[in-house]
Subunit: 212 residues, 2 copies
DNA sequence: ACAAAAGTGTTGCTGTTACACCCATGG
DNA sequence: CCATGGGTGTAACAGCAACACTTTTGT
């Protein structure tokens, strides 16, 4: 192909959600060659009549059920040979949603620590996304915790989530003390049934941050 | 123009450097219409034979003198009307360099808090970059302090830098205590002449981080 | 000797860690 | 009554904030 200043761009949307204190990612199975039956991050090729943001929105809308997501751009991937067929530049976005059953047989939620066989460079892209995501969670940048937990939750769930992100155990009393001290959650008054004593339910205060 | 899946992409490189405890950005004056004599972030249009990274490298190499820079991608800007002439998607990279005199009459260093008249959406792009940059500095992500200060410096300089970033005064004793405690700098044994008592010079320890 | 900037310690406060027992519910 | 998971307090320690005087150099 001759040198040109026109390029093909695709947006990829890495969709994350909490599931029982772990983080899952929503992936799509490839139906056709190349990489048939390998998994990919969902996305679309960008036309010259849309913005990156509208393209991402299109991807989200194609996945049902949709819930209002939080989305931000992470990085672009532009190696000349990342696609064996043609040169495509990928720009990745991370989306945080509430996990729901997906009624598309070609899509599935995976634990971010045990991904299936990924096509192209999508495994590296996800690795890079996870790193960025964790740092954003630990700083609670942009109030991202609220995006993961827009609904009510127990402190045990939240603690598992942090243990998952930090990959280490946290002392329960200290964790609760910190959460209460930082004033980022409120009681709902409700309780949730579990195998033992019912847990109190909390919600995040809007505008509550860990730092500052 | 008809709908197509080909797009024009430009890389922009926002080049930052410390200057006496402040942060400056290197901008280029536009010689031609549109936006003649307005200022822009330097960059290049991407061909289909290069990656985003090689395009950025080309931009850096056109600016003399070059010193080995630290570069990372921030965000892309893709509004349909951001360029009045044609549809161009901009992907921004931030570069941290050591400030030197630039022997190009069309380029100049500006304090990031007092930018000149900017062309296109470049003022918003810089605003977004500055926000990202500050957060990276405060977390010392990727050891970015070392990129700003690869040479030796006095603690007074470093403190001014933090005061500039935080936009508030810091107590000198507490600042020095923290820096020493965190073990991120070493004495060089050298001193620098100032208007008063000479200051001791320090360098960053490689691999020294504020957190973790 | 004075002007200019660099260097230095102590105290109180606040947040973090380490640690073990009782409580509420369902079966 | 037992299994399961939820909820709670205290003491030692570490990091952070507030605060003013002395030292080194050039003129």
């Amino acid at each position: 192909m001759a040198k040109s200043y026109y390029n093909v761009i695709e947006t990829l949307v890495s969709i994350f959600a909490v599931d029982k204190g772990t983080i899952k990612i929503l992936l799509k199975r490839k139906k056709r060659e190349p990489y048939r039956n390998y998994w990919i991050i969902p996305g679309h090729v960008l036309s010259n009549e849309e913005t990156l943001e509208t393209s991402v929105k299109k991807t989200m809308e194609n996945i049902n059920p949709v819930n209002v997501p939080y989305i931000y751009e992470t990085k672009s991937f532009s190696s000349l040979d990342r696609d064996p067929v043609e040169r495509i530049i990928a720009t990745n976005f991370n989306a945080i949603v509430v996990k729901e059953l997906v009624n598309d047989y070609e899509m599935e939620w995976f634990d971010i620590y045990s991904l299936p066989k990924m096509a192209y460079d999508h495994e590296q892209i996800i690795e890079s996304n996870i790193k960025e995501l964790k740092s954003r969670i630990l700083h609670n940048d942009d109030n991202i915790l609220l995006k993961f937990f827009p609904h009510d939750f127990t402190l045990t769930e939240l603690q598992s989530f942090f243990e998952f992100v930090l990959n280490k155990k946290i002392d329960r009393r200290n964790f609760r003390k910190k959460i209460f001290n930082d004033n980022i959650v409120s009681h709902t008054g409700e309780k949730i049934k579990t195998a033992g004593r019912p847990g109190e339910l909390f919600v995040f205060n809007k505008g509550g941050y860990f730092n500052e």
